[in-house]
Amino acid sequence: MSDAHASHDDSIHPEPTSFLRKYVFSTDHKVIAKQFIWLGLAFLAVGGTMAMMIRWQLAHTGEPFPVIGHAIFSNSAGIISPAAYTSLFTMHGTIMIFFAITPIMIGGFGNFCIPLMIGARDMVFPKLNMFSFWMMFISSAILVASFFMPMGAAAAGWTTYPTLSTVMGTPGWGQTLWVVSIYFAGGSTVMGAVNYITTVIVLRAPGMGYFKMPLTVWGLWLTAILNALFVPVLAAGMILLFLDRVVGTHFFLAGALVKSGGDPILYQHLFWIFGHPEVYILILPGWGVVSDLLSFFSRKPAYGYKVTALAMSAVCVLSAVVYGHHMFTTGLSPLLGQGFMLLTMFISVPAEIFFLNWLHTLWKGKIRLTVPMLFSLGLVFVFGLGGLTGLYLATISTDLYLHDTYFVVGHFHLTMAAAVFLGAFASIYFWFPKMFGKMMNSTLGKLHFWFSFVPINFVFCGMLYVGFGGMQRRLYNPSIYQTFQHLESVNKFISYSAFVMAFGGIFFIINFFYSLAKGEKAPSNPWEVGTLEWTHTTSPPQHHNFDVIPTVLHGPHEFNHPHLTDKDWLGQAEVLPALGAQEAK
């Protein structure tokens, strides 16, 4: 700890020269960010393939999965068996949440953006940062190992409710390794959170007040705060579940089989005390990024910058006290239920405030429809839909009907899957030039956008529709129930839309690797914006980020300043020509 960079006066550390220290066990936040992004993108591909398998099963029940089916489901001639299907939807959720979104948005862009945007040379604890990545790596290795256990991978759903997740519901080491893996992933996340929170508090450049930070940093910082507070609750739940499974304690087991048993609902409390903040943890970085990007590409200051930051903070506070809305059907006291319903409804108020700020930012702007802007607009649309459908689930009377249907699946995918997915790609397209020093291809990017945005809405709105029709989630074969047979065509439509979306992903993969190898060299500020990572360092930034720590004078979204004649943006640390003498004092 004695070598922590707690002061800007610290000397610049020389760049390590050995391959291991430079690319593998690096303490450079930019390298760690890339490591997280590679890990996340790999798992995004795995989790996405699993989603395609799930959709294949719902559209073509009993037919072998094309191309890779025979290799993966070799025991059943390429057909997805009910047991495999259960594992698929469990692991799809787990992988997407803990091993795709978390590494990309929080591990990747959290690491990359925070020091660069606040004007720091690195994170405050660079070694802890390295441990955080390698713990995530160990955790993902354990998760991968769980696929090869006898009796298969975890199969209790990503929420892992007891009694499904106890040794009675899912015997075998696959589920136990799942628990261990999530515990380690949580450890990694908390390490990252401690680092991010502290870095923002102590390493902001001179003049970088909290209300001069880009909203991206606000989003990531609030995410880190929620992570630090609530991931340990999940860790506690995982410890107890592990003890129940391995040493035979009685926390969650109930019923005649165990004397003096515990309470399965206790797990749901612990899980959702973590789980509701978690959905905001996943979307907050996206909100932050979009709040900045909408302003950058509308060439206008972010409307109500301070209010957006405060509204996002208010959502964070509220997110801690609404978890009961996941448990309306567990026999929760009606009085408590009403309280949770009311608090949940309150979240709409701050959420509407920054949503309207986004629209105001766009209003009368000189909009540049670049690829990151398209993805940002996509997020705004999709998140709006997802947020509205949340109201039906927050209301007890409608939730009792919609609970456990595809309506829930559609709602949470729109908010924390589709919106986060679009936000993640907006971030990748936006910061790729800074990360790798190359521009991405804009035509391929636009193709990727349209192939993602249109089908993503078909998929999840289709899910809202079949869910409203009563179709439960996690059904292996809905068409054996007469009630759901008329939904078969809609299910097929959802699946085909999903396949089109997966096809669109190919444009991204080509674009990503092609640009890495042969992309046009990126200038230091290709988007013409004023935040520090674009104005005060090269693309990609040198090892120590900034030769001289800049002194910040302005907010992050200064566009069309009346004193500027040659360009429409103003750097955060740029001295205005006309007011230069005055501001220098």
Binding site: V194, I201, A228, P232, A236, L240, T249, L270
Partner: protein, 186 residues
């Protein structure tokens, strides 16, 4: 007295440690929450037919940990005055070890009396909470050994690691006070 530069340098580790302890406090809080949820569903606690936990030794242990917090603090005061901290850390280490030894003695006695972690939820709660806490005491002892091995390096100007160690140790002791109240007394 530490200089302004020293204070600035210590700010990062200090804030980081605070954030970490709040986070880890949430983990303990969740365990206490689990305990209370299981408890309120029972008419009487401990449930009928369950062996009673001893009170005298855990009470003594609480005092032992409280004294160890004081001795660790004296070590910090010593290093701030450029005096040796090894003696104070050594005493703290011995007190922590005494705590663990007595705790193991309590577990053995309770198990002999017939309360096991897999015999009832009362046993599950008792063993899980106390063992989880004891693992933290053990980590604290490792930290103290580390600090003692490096004791000569710490001066009144540079002793961030000692301060961090002390914060962790006080945290573990404070959690124990709560645990003693909830698990043994109430």
């Amino acid at each position: 007295m530490s200089s302004i530069a020293e204070q600035r340098r210590e700010l990062g580790p200090y804030v980081g440690m605070l954030v970490f302890l709040v986070a880890w406090g949430m983990c303990f809080a969740s365990l206490f929450f689990a305990y209370s949820v299981l408890r309120i569903s029972e008419v009487s606690w401990p449930p009928p037919g369950v062996p009673r936990l001893p009170l005298a030794v855990p009470l003594f242990n609480t005092v032992v940990l409280a004294i160890s917090s004081y001795t660790f603090h004296r070590g910090l005061v010593a290093v701030r005055g450029n005096r040796s901290l090894s003696v104070w850390l050594g005493v703290t280490w011995l007190l922590g070890t005494l705590f663990l030894a007595l705790q193991i003695w309590v577990w053995l006695g309770v198990e002999r009396a017939g309360l096991r972690w897999d015999s009832s939820k009362y046993g599950s709660v008792f063993y899980s909470l106390t063992v989880f806490h004891a693992l933290h005491v053990l980590s604290g002892l490792v930290v103290i050994v580390y600090l003692m091995l490096r004791a000569r390096r710490y001066t009144s100007a540079r002793h961030t690691a000692v301060r961090m160690g002390a914060m962790f140790w006080h945290f573990v002791d404070a959690v124990w006070a709560l645990m003693f109240l909830t698990v043994y007394v109430l």
